[in-house]
Symmetry: C2
Subunit: 220 residues, 2 copies
Amino acid sequence: MGQETDRVLAEVSTDVVIFTMREDRLCVLLVRRARDPFAGCWSLPGGMVGLDEALDAAARRMLASKTGVTGVYLEQLFTFGGIARDPRGRVISVAYYALVPPDRMPSVRVAPDVAWHDVWKLPTLAFDHADIIAMARQRLAAKLEYSTIALQLMPEKFTLSDLQTVYEHILGEPLDKRNFRKRLHSLGCLEPTGEHHRAGRHRPARLFRMKSPGRVEFIK
Amino acid sequence: MGQETDRVLAEVSTDVVIFTMREDRLCVLLVRRARDPFAGCWSLPGGMVGLDEALDAAARRMLASKTGVTGVYLEQLFTFGGIARDPRGRVISVAYYALVPPDRMPSVRVAPDVAWHDVWKLPTLAFDHADIIAMARQRLAAKLEYSTIALQLMPEKFTLSDLQTVYEHILGEPLDKRNFRKRLHSLGCLEPTGEHHRAGRHRPARLFRMKSPGRVEFIK
DNA sequence: TCAAAAGTGTTATTGGTACACCCATGC
DNA sequence: GCATGGGTGTACCAATAACACTTTTGA
């Protein structure tokens, strides 16, 4: 921008890695491509950024068009600008990732060309979308260590075991139950609802909720 | 990218926050703008991305054109895409930051419209460049805590006091000398050159160098 | 009464922080 | 000999990691 040159125009798109928890698995929303290139392949939801549209607004638009969801956690991830990443020509993609609580997902909307995939068992992906998802998962895992971001993947009410499962599945390793509970309680951002959740022939679990839903705090 | 829409073309630029240490101060390279908008204002070096040029290649080109430096640490920072950030029209900027060791800077090259500015005492800046520099400084400060990135700002040989000064100036707070030295020695990425640096009427300081120059390690 | 998950504390280790004096040199 | 920055170790505190049993329920 500092020095003027010939004006070079490029296509700018956003791709959004939409995460949610389904059946104790971290899942990503993928769209099956109808046409070439990569026809039949799965890809991230994405599209061109409008001329009068901010980047994050474009990302939220992609999110809403595939899921109907608004107002969830969204963060810019990275901008992918390799010269050959789209065989049709130069396309620069500003990637975002979003965290959708499972109770915010309209359960029905299962278009045949849109599906959730376990982030650890992805199909072959179009473009460089496998790289984008890998980076998003790493970023999410890193943020578990120093923020309360995982709570953005929880429904309004949840048990501590549910939450531990989320941590374990994102990190890919088991955690000690007592240390985990001690740590979460000491954050002071959860409160018991007073209700209990019965889930089989064993002791019911206490339900918790966030004190400030939507707020992501940094710790340490 | 997933769904096809009308092709919207935008201008894509990169702006590069070029850091170096000069006289024990963390400095940023700024360019004085010759023309409107913001004529006379200081701004980051930057320019349009070529159609066949990767984003990081464009950033390295900006860096080389202002400083002549190649092969230094460069990292993508964030993509700024607000709709009104450039009054001439829609311009999306992929910001990078670079770390230049002071002995890599050709000392003379002081064009009248290019100058180093203390990062804590910046002039009024064009566009949203103040935001970009602030974010770069924060990112650098955060990385001091969990990586060896600060060594990328050091000349080939340096004293531990020099290095401590770098940390202190980036973080904006004094550090304990013994704790600092203990920590850096325990990283095991420095080795003494055997030489000493005489700098006044006091004990000469031991000179160190990196065992693997250019390598940035993550710690903890 | 049994199986299955919920819930709960203590101890050991580690890493971080605070802190004060002697050393080598140039003037 | 004195002023100046270089160089070193220890004691305390806090955070983390390891670890096992009791409780409540449904079948």
